[in-house]
């Protein structure tokens, strides 16, 4: 009984890890899709969401297999960037995800860490695939990134392998509150500094960051935040002479 329970526990864990890797395998595509939604409203440049969806889907299911078959029969045609992404990045990660189902993971911390590093390296290999390689005996722009990218793929695989072969710690616990509010505070500051100026954005970001812990007491936080904002507003633009807007644009005009 205990044995079967233990078995089923690793099985569910393996499944979630494998599904995570599947998502990782198409993460760049998903990211471009989300990014492309902005173009509807005129933010940013790039392809529209429909084009992104169609081109990645055809690349994943049609283009890449076609290139593989073509390569096998000796036909070397120049593949498009989407097809290359599928070939260099997505397919290997999918393969890893499928393999993960059949593995006993002894240290999830190492295994997942190694695979994610490998994914990063594969992504870098794709990102530098359009660069020129060796020209005779002199390095091209793409030689060094490919060299180190390949090395990192090997190292990531090695780390993942230790996670399979040796016992080690399981995945560490992640909390969401601290990272979320600290990130929100940073992003808000970045977006607000130009239009709203130091005073408003620094004070607001201070309060957002303070949400990162449940121990915040609001009266003292507001007082300290106000003092810090005043201090920064004097220190950076006046004492140090760094140019930055002080107050919201609409108030100044």
């Amino acid at each position: 009984m205990a044995e079967t329970m233990g078995h089923s526990a690793t099985a569910t864990r393996n499944t979630s890890v494998a599904i995570g890797f599947c998502l990782l395998a198409i993460a760049p595509q998903i990211f471009e899709f989300i990014w492309s939604i902005g173009t509807i409203f005129g933010w940013g440049a790039g392809r529209g969401p429909a084009t992104v969806l169609i081109s990645h889907a055809t690349a994943l299911f049609g283009g890449a297999p076609a290139v593989l078959i073509g390569a096998a029969s000796g036909d070397t045609k120049k593949a498009s960037s989407d097809v290359l992404l599928a070939l260099i990045y997505s397919y290997p990660i999918f393969a890893v995800a499928i393999l993960t189902f059949f593995m006993t993971i002894r240290s999830a911390q190492d295994y997942v860490g190694g695979i994610v590093l490998m994914a990063l390296a594969l992504f870098a290999l794709w990102a530098s695939s359009d660069l020129q390689g060796m020209r005779g005996f002199s390095f091209g722009a793409g030689t060094a990134p490919r060299m180190f990218g390949g090395l990192l793929v090997a190292l990531g695989a090695g780390i993942a392998l230790t996670g399979l072969l040796a016992d080690g710690p399981a995945m560490a616990h992640y909390s969401w509150r601290g990272p979320m509010f600290v990130m929100a505070s940073i992003v808000f500051f970045a977006l607000a500094i130009r239009p709203l100026g130091v005073v408003v954005s620094a004070f607001a970001s201070f309060l957002i960051a303070a949400l990162g812990t449940h121990e915040t007491r609001w009266v003292e936080t507001i007082i300290v935040g106000a003092c810090l904002t005043a201090g920064c507003a004097l220190l950076f633009p006046y004492v140090l002479g760094l140019p930055m807007p002080m107050f919201p644009r609409f108030l100044v005009q």
Binding site: F139, F148, I159, F189, T216, V224
Partner: protein
């Protein structure tokens, strides 16, 4: 003697009112950072980089240097009194220092830490002055092949000295090297891995990544544990700073050994203050007639690591000033500060900018003197600072970092990138990857690639050039030797033992 003339010139520069002020500010900020846990030297130096825009270059570098060695003093104060190391470099000081404080001997512990640091600082200052000129001459004999091999050696050192898995440390270095390739290629100008984002065309800013991985990630990690950290102050009044005669006799050899060890580890690329303090503590324990005293308030356990970390903090300027190679992340930020002011680090700096080099060296000695005064009589003020709760401190650090990064390039994108690297750093910590080798790889990446390409161009594509040039071959041989040593299982066990015992 050349050295005396140079040092005299340096003191003339360092004693000018503006530079004295900069030195004092640096020492004060350094002590503050050292005392406060949760904010490290790397993040602070990165944060203050933009501030140095408006300063003259000599003053700016004097201030930044002051922060680095000032933090080594400050870290010892909290280690001894509160058992919270404010800096990674004083983790081992806490073991015996805090025991001494519990036995009512906080005063002598603080005094010995300060005296040891001061002595080490003085020796290191002289060492920089003496070694500077000959090493610069040696550097002129270096071709691209030698530079490349030296950097390989430095990175291998970083791997050997990093704690935890060797494989992970190497992976972090390679990751850093890859990150350094983002942006325009130096030779062809081709845009690499920049995804047509204009802000990435110049590459990832080193300060941005450092602030993310060391500043934001640290904050997020600390919030995991809850903002209210356990801070039991040693409440009794610190009476009698003066160590007894026996204390002095016991600690003198420890200080000497710590200084020597720290100076050596500081010069080696990849080393630095953290490693030096660990190594010095282990050495003392090995040499002691009665090792069981360690951990129960042995004064050598305070004297040796404190001297070692201060010596290392200062001698790590030697490779930077003579070879132009930053041996650790803080020195890499100093490179950033120098470049902001249009100074290219390397062997030519000594000749072209004597004011800068000798002024900085002289200021280190002055700064050490200031630090003794800042730390010993004023120790009560610093301890009171620890009562500032983390729930108020962390939003302040976030805002200060954000404004600091924004002001480097006036680019909001940089702030967001730093945030992203904060999350990356948090992920790295969760998967037990050390971020320090990553930064070192990122710093040395462009230099390495440039020298590798140049060496191969000169040799017309012949890779054996790295082995046929004698200096380069020796450097690579040392690197290979070190790597095999670390991978040998027997030594691995030893190495883990060193790190686990210093973490207690």
């Amino acid at each position: 003697m050349d050295i005396f003339a140079n040092l005299a010139h340096g003191f003339a520069v360092a004693l000018s009112p503006i530079n004295l002020l900069m030195c004092l500010i640096g020492a004060l900020v350094g002590t503050l950072v050292g005392v406060l846990p949760g904010i490290g030297t790397i993040a602070t130096v990165a944060m203050l980089l933009p501030i140095t825009f408006g300063l003259p270059p000599v003053g700016a570098l004097i201030m930044l240097a002051g922060i680095y060695y000032g933090a080594q003093y400050g870290g010892s104060t909290t280690s001894i009194l509160v058992n919270i190391p404010g800096e990674a470099t004083s983790v081992v000081t806490a073991i015996d220092g805090h025991q001494m404080a519990k036995q009512g001997r906080a005063g002598p512990a603080l005094a010995i830490a300060a005296i040891g640091s001061f002595f080490a600082g003085c020796v290191a200052t002289v060492l920089i002055a003496v070694l500077g000129a000959p090493l610069t001459k040696l550097a002129l004999a270096f071709g691209p092949a030698e530079y490349f091999s030296l950097m390989v050696l430095g990175l291998i050192f970083a791997v050997v000295l990093a704690k935890g898995s060797v494989l992970k440390a190497i992976a972090m270095i390679v990751f850093g090297l890859l990150l350094s390739m983002v942006g325009s290629d130096i030779e062809t100008g081709a845009s690499r891995m920049a995804f047509n984002i204009p802000e990435l065309a110049d590459g990832l800013g080193f300060a941005t990544v450092a602030m993310g991985v060391f500043g934001f990630a640290e904050i997020i990690r600390n919030l995991d544990a809850g903002a209210e950290m356990n801070r039991d102050l040693v409440q009794q009044k610190i009476t009698g700073l003066m160590p007894t005669k026996k204390d002095l006799i016991d600690s003198t050899p420890a200080i000497l050994r710590g200084t020597v060890l720290g100076s050596i580890l500081g010069i080696l690329p990849g080393g630095g203050a953290v490693i030096a303090s660990f190594a010095a503590y282990t050495l003392e324990k090995k040499l002691a007639k009665n090792p069981s005293r360690f951990g129960r308030g042995a004064i050598e356990g305070v004297a040796a690591p404190e001297s070692a970390n201060n010596a290392a903090a200062q001698t790590s300027f030697i490779p930077l000033l003579t070879l132009g190679i930053p041996p650790n992340a803080v020195m890499a930020l100093m490179v950033g500060a120098m470049t902001i002011h249009g100074i290219v680090p390397g062997p030519q700096v000594m000749q072209k900018q004597p004011d800068l080099v000798w002024g900085m060296i002289a200021s280190m000695w002055i700064g050490n003197l200031m630090l003794i005064i800042i730390n010993l009589p004023l120790v009560g003020i610093w301890v009171r600072l620890l009562r500032v709760p983390y729930r108020l401190m962390f939003p302040s650090i976030v805002i200060f970092c954000a404004i600091g990064i924004y002001s480097v390039n006036n680019a909001p994108v940089d702030v967001i990138l730093a945030g992203v690297f904060g999350l990356v750093g948090y992920w790295l910590i969760k998967h037990d990857f050390e971020p320090a080798p990553l930064l070192l790889g990122m710093v040395l990446g462009p230099l390495m690639e440039e020298n590798l390409r140049r060496a191969l161009l000169i040799s017309r594509g012949d890779w054996s050039v790295f082995l046929t040039r004698p200096l380069s071959a020796v450097l690579l041989a040392i690197a290979a030797f070190l790597l095999t040593l670390t991978l040998l299982p027997m030594l691995r066990a030893k190495r883990d033992e060193v790190f686990t015992e210093s973490e207690n």
